[in-house]
Symmetry: C2
Subunit: 188 residues, 2 copies
Amino acid sequence: MDTRTALLDAALNRFSAFGYDGTAVQEICDDCGLTKPTLYHHFSSKRGLLDALLAANFRPLWPPLQDACTYQHDLPLSLERVLRVFFTYSSAHPVFYRFQLSLRFLPLQSEASIAARPYIQKQEEFLIQLFKAAEADHGNMRGHSRSHALSFLGMLNTYITQALDGQQTLDDPTLFRARQQFMYGIFS
Amino acid sequence: MDTRTALLDAALNRFSAFGYDGTAVQEICDDCGLTKPTLYHHFSSKRGLLDALLAANFRPLWPPLQDACTYQHDLPLSLERVLRVFFTYSSAHPVFYRFQLSLRFLPLQSEASIAARPYIQKQEEFLIQLFKAAEADHGNMRGHSRSHALSFLGMLNTYITQALDGQQTLDDPTLFRARQQFMYGIFS
DNA sequence: CTACCAGTATACCGAACGGTATACTGGGCT
DNA sequence: AGCCCAGTATACCGTTCGGTATACTGGTAG
């Protein structure tokens, strides 16, 4: 594994376990057997390291998420596909997903929150776009696309959080139960 | 306002805006026009300040929550009462509620997460106790009391988060919609 | 008046922080 | 061989961190 990847990997583990502010760059370097100037050779700053970490780990999420959020006049199908994307992604990258979840609820003015905001908003906007497109076929949803998108994301993350804690499996029955629960809440 | 209260108040605002690790005790003192030895006279340490903050702000939540979680063979009524407790509490203490929400998703080994764990777990245990008691009347829920409690808390916090961001009002229609959505998810 | 004590301030501590100036090293190019 | 340059290390910077030894103050009890 090359140096840059080793640093990103160590940073992810440290940030995930102790938080961004709770981690010293020295500790990340120690984990790799490297020194600080090496880290600062590859990344411009601690913030730059976080930026690179977020960009690298979110990248594989975007294509399948964009695909799943393309509305094809079948909202239940779209929600199933979105759930599958998130279930698959969080299972493949559990450590990063937990870190990303923590960033969602960070104080708004903290450095890590500011760095993560574009990535969090991008997720939300894909979902909002889906619900907005679905308004054409479901008139009663009009004007609530943002609210529905955030509720769906919230419910989805509730399931994933429990799965990350080992109290839930992200299999197909769970997926359909989650979708059904959400659809009931909307159409009733 | 006495010194101790002023420090707790300033700490809440700082912690809520910048996070526990992102806040220096010096800044809290500056906000009050006091100096560090004064803070350390009232609180044994930065961690002790956080402990006192959590104890003081959570205190008014416990009695009504305990009351609402006392099962009386009417689960929908209990859920309504729990929702009302959380809606009322989060509306009355919006800054603290947002801070408390951030603590929920903090890295598990961070100091603030460890300090907050008992209070987070206490909330969960009240809910678990309610769902466990309800199992007697709803056999199909048996063995899922913990999962249902965490899902309910997650959904509830999704609504409150949106309300704290000004995108949702925590009125009675919202409350009944939230309850209905959750009940559908359980009994179907 | 005096003795005391909770509460506050001045001045300071060692440690750790993010970040850097500089020198070294080893593989590829001419 | 001689050169170059990306990548790494040694040693260090100024700043800020959480925390404290000590002294002062103003009100209260004897």
